[in-house]
Amino acid sequence: MDTLILYIAVVILFGISLVKDRGKTKKAFLKGIKALEGIMPQFITVLILIAIMLAVFNAETISRFLGASTGWIGVAIAAGIGAITLIPGFVAFPLAGELLRNGAGVMQIATFVSSLMMVGLITLPMEISYFGKRTAIARNLFAFLFSIVAATFVTWAVGL
């Protein structure tokens, strides 16, 4: 259903664009296709790795470590994994959905996603070179704490 809306939006917007400017529309189309091809290598790799991971860790294992009943320990594990790993957003969200379907808890997964997006231990050296040590470390630290706050909020919102 959501997908259908997406396709309808594409058709309508491209239609409008085509009426307004043929050249620009063609350029937009080619840009989109090119960007799509650009992410493919990374994307396919991650999909395969997720498939292996989900085969190894069954729903039981996932819910044991990240399930709703794990509480704050599960949240801490999720925040830790999220802080270290480096996964692009377009892969992280489907992965999070898959984990949820396989027994992970909402709060744990929300923590995982937000610390994944905001905290980057691997990219920290690069961040330091841009923002300086103090700012970079403070930003990551606050982001780490905030990811848990955000997760609390998400859990509340999901429970509504």
């Binding site: 594409v10 937009a28 840009k31 997720i50």
Partner: protein, 67 residues
């Protein structure tokens, strides 16, 4: 040369794929699960992602502001 370039770009994906095949041979009992999981994900992604990138292309062309 062009073929080699493509091969180089997809290097990691090819390694991962070989890893998956090795994994499926090593653990035949887990193979169907890995296979269906991958197929499911690929199906979903191929359906959802192309329109998003087309919309991004439109956004890029029509919304000014990038230096």
């Amino acid at each position: 040369m062009k073929f080699l370039n493509i091969l180089n770009r997809y290097r990691a994906a090819i390694v991962a794929l070989l890893g998956l095949i090795a994994f499926m041979f090593a653990f035949p009992d887990l193979a169907p699960k890995a296979g269906t999981s991958l197929a499911d994900q690929v199906k979903t992604m191929l359906l959802v992602i192309p329109p998003i990138f087309l919309l991004l292309g439109l956004l890029d062309v029509w919304v000014p502001g990038k230096p």
